[in-house]
């Protein structure tokens, strides 16, 4: 918890200096050995319209932006080219919607570890900036709900 708080603070601090986009409660679902992919989730917000256009992480060979949708009880997942971050409203990457897909993992994601993720965001003017995020690895059986929507603390 403390580590997450620090990670979040770090993320915020790194963000405010570089971009308008802020990231809250970034987390990655833990994996078991030999599992080669997992998802990263977080809350993105921005005072001006922006979009997330790519992500990368040293722990993954390939990182993509994905969306999950349920259509007639069929789970469909596909890559997307960007994820909109509407001004003031923000976007939550969470199970059941958008996520950052970490693939070709180079190591097991262990609970409590910190995973660096670099986000590339684009403003309305087409200007791109990077946001460095430190995501905390949550247990593989973490429930679908993300962090809370209020403060910096997390519920468990």
């Amino acid at each position: 918890m403390k580590r997450t708080l620090i990670a979040s603070l770090f993320a915020l601090a790194a963000t405010s200096a570089l971009a308008q986009v802020t990231v809250k409660d970034p987390w990655v679902r833990a994996t078991v050995p030999h599992q080669s992919a997992t998802g990263a989730f977080m809350q993105l917000s921005s005072p001006a319209d922006a979009k997330l256009v790519s992500a990368s992480s040293p722990v993954a060979g390939v990182t993509e932006l994905h969306v999950m949708k349920m259509e007639k009880e069929i789970m469909k997942m596909r890559p997307v080219t960007s994820i909109a971050i509407p001004a003031g409203k923000g976007t939550e990457l969470k199970p059941g919607g958008y996520h950052v897909m970490l693939m070709n993992l180079k190591q097991q994601m262990k609970e409590g570890d910190t995973v660096p993720i670099t986000l590339v965001v684009e403003g309305k003017d087409g200007k791109r900036e990077t946001v460095e995020v430190k995501a905390t690895v949550r247990p593989i059986n973490a429930p679908a709900t993300g962090g809370d929507h209020g403060g910096m603390h997390m519920k468990h």
């Binding site: 679902r29 833990a30 078991v32 050995p33 030999h34 599992q35 080669s36 992919a37 997992t38 998802g39 390939v62 993509e64 994905h66 999950m68 349920m70 009880e73 069929i74 789970m75 469909k76 997942m77 596909r78 890559p79 199970p95 059941g96 996520h99 897909m101 693939m103 070709n104 593989i140 059986n141 973490a142 429930p143 679908a144």
Partner: protein, 196 residues
């Protein structure tokens, strides 16, 4: 009786009451598939390489669903819900067997299936088959799955229903991904009640 058990008993009594005075079948949260001429059996390999069929689980209420371990979202959610369902049932949770069948046998090795399901609950069982066997079991259970080659790797779109079998190995219910552990547990309680 512990408070939890009496609460369960109360809930069960309520279910019976809601089902009507004539002892008709309870209203399940899931879709009632009793008597379906499909979804009758499977023949799949467990992580030790043994062939398993429904007959191996007589006496257990089986929750069966399909997925794959590289799935970041629906599959862990389904497994978490299965665990919650089992916990909600208290002692009766021991009568439930959760089975996760991969639709991605190419990447989901027996070892991976074992580690993956055990990470949610040691009693959960991961089953797989070769490509042909996977096709067969999916057809028998009307499960849709397709590999989607987009981006750098592939994902697998698949049906996200959970099937419930009674202790006699008969397909009884299909529950949706959007339903809660409480709804799953209530249906299992109702099924257990019917046969007790």
């Amino acid at each position: 009786m512990t408070p939890l058990r009496s609460l369960c008993a109360l809930a069960a009594a309520l279910c019976v009451a809601l089902a009507g005075c004539d002892g008709s079948a309870p209203n399940f949260n899931g879709t009632d598939l009793t008597g379906a001429d499909w979804g009758r059996d499977f023949s799949l390999q467990d992580p030790d390489g043994r062939t398993r069929t429904l007959a191996d689980f007589r006496g257990k209420y089986v929750l069966l669903f399909f997925g794959y371990t590289q799935c970041p979202d629906v599959c862990p959610t389904a497994l978490v819900r299965a665990k919650e369902t089992k916990d909600l049932l208290g002692a009766d949770g021991q009568r439930v067997q959760v089975i996760f069948v991969t639709v991605d046998p190419e990447r989901d090795t027996p070892e991976l299936m074992r580690d993956y399901t055990a990470a949610f609950d040691p009693s959960f069982l991961g089953l797989r088959a070769d490509a042909e066997g996977t096709k067969r079991v999916a057809k028998e259970f009307k499960v849709f799955y397709e590999k989607v080659h987009e981006g750098a790797s592939y994902t697998v779109n698949h049906s996200a229903l959970t099937y419930v079998f009674d202790a006699q190995g008969r397909l009884r219910l299909a529950l949706k991904h959007t339903q809660t552990a409480e709804e799953y547990a209530a249906d299992l309680r109702a099924l257990m009640k019917q046969s007790s």
